[in-house]
Symmetry: C2
Subunit: 314 residues, 2 copies
Amino acid sequence: MTPQARTIHHIAREQRHLAWDNTIAPVLTIDSGEIVHIDAVEASGGQLGPDSTLENMATLDFAACDPVQGPIYVRDAEPGDTLQIEILELKTADWGWTAVIPGFGLLADEFLEPALKIWRLQDGYAEFTPGIRIPLEPFCGEMGVAPAMPGAFSTIPPAQNGGNIDTKHLTAGSTVYLPVLAPGALFSIGDGHAAQGDGEVCGTAIETPMQITLRLTVRKDLQVPELQYCTAGPLTPRTNTAPYYATTGYSTDLMDAARKAVRNMVDYLGRTYGLSRADAYMLCSVAADLKINEIVDAPNWIVGAYMPTSIFQR
Amino acid sequence: MTPQARTIHHIAREQRHLAWDNTIAPVLTIDSGEIVHIDAVEASGGQLGPDSTLENMATLDFAACDPVQGPIYVRDAEPGDTLQIEILELKTADWGWTAVIPGFGLLADEFLEPALKIWRLQDGYAEFTPGIRIPLEPFCGEMGVAPAMPGAFSTIPPAQNGGNIDTKHLTAGSTVYLPVLAPGALFSIGDGHAAQGDGEVCGTAIETPMQITLRLTVRKDLQVPELQYCTAGPLTPRTNTAPYYATTGYSTDLMDAARKAVRNMVDYLGRTYGLSRADAYMLCSVAADLKINEIVDAPNWIVGAYMPTSIFQR
């Protein structure tokens, strides 16, 4: 995809910040409709690299994780408007990482030890082990605008301003809508993911530096209460090519149901493919999708974890 | 699909029951691996028909809803085994219904009035309004075995025995696994759905009488803690053919996040397609999928409601 526009702005990987805060000075000011190219560091902010080992996990500073590149001030954007973000192009680096970080993730109480997987990304795939490969479907986990409220807010939880939305369907070609909450919108982006399952259950995806090209447009004619988007096309076209194996959890509580579904998938992957529990948990995070199958048959809801069998070559 | 087997057993639409109860006498006893053809009444148990109107909703007896056909005793099935259910063929009737039932559904506090939609099902589609049509992807909302515990349990909530699982991905060609909890498994099935979104948010799908053909096999070599399955192929192949429009909800509570996502989709459908709120809510129930996009970026989770744009012809 070759964006056609008079001006293409650039943001370098050093131009980043670690909080959502409407007093952070913009690194760039653009007109509505202009295109920006961004060189984004991965989620560890450079603490991990292609040669990292489990030892590097011991010194990982969680407070320095999930930086975002920006902010970008868009002229004429006012609170009450909508910021339209067209994701024009996304290019991963040739490596990525996935980790189990103690104290973080859906099954944090059950996975107490750190684990780290360094991936080689090539020919459109990330190989997990021989016979298991994940097609790359890159997107950015972080996308947000400055909040209306004064103060410095963590980049970890998402909120009305977007932020760490970790929504796998925002691949190149998608159009994203966020409410403008502060003058100029003050948009930032980062947290490149080469692939992820719906839920990102172990807390990390295939984390990778990302080259991002996007167009930012102020929409005065549109109001959204929080994140909305139109996807680029059919969902997960590269993995939705064969049957899925699904485990489920039923519970009176959706969180509990999700935990059961993932726990059952970890068991299934161990039994069927001989994966260690940590490997199975990370594979769930990068490839299995959490769906709410039913949420009305009181008092029990069902959450399913869907693993695409297309990733298994054996 | 023409099942090849020596014996095909039959269950008539009168052979049904209204509770999960391991003391209900089986209507059929079969060997493991045999095929059964079932003529299933729809979820109202015959209270609603192709000519029903809103007036019929006033006298709808909710306690008579969600009957299941069976039970089927499978020889040699013992607690601790797994019952494998191969869904060989599913045929809807030529009509179906969707309703807003006061007091029931994800947004029950906001939809206080009953609503009823009668569908004509033909040529593989259900037309909602001119320009909006839903491809039929039939499955059965109810599928379960008798519980281990004595007693009569409602067919509305799903549980370890399966039951009202309302899982849209169990179309013909899928293979379902349920734990055997009582001798003979005592399998029953019903609640035909011509199409449904993940979540079934208004509480009803396109409810339709269903002709079901399935094979039941006792698996002594397999243990499942609760419902698991392998889908027939790629997910929702008839609707996943174009972009999706997604609304989201973020919250510290997944239920609240799901409600926000659906509320935002109802607003979007009203604004974009001019649908009434009740129509938009029912369209969400039969066509929009709820996904847990992230469940780890504490303290806020994101649920997305995904509406396939492929259902809109205009």
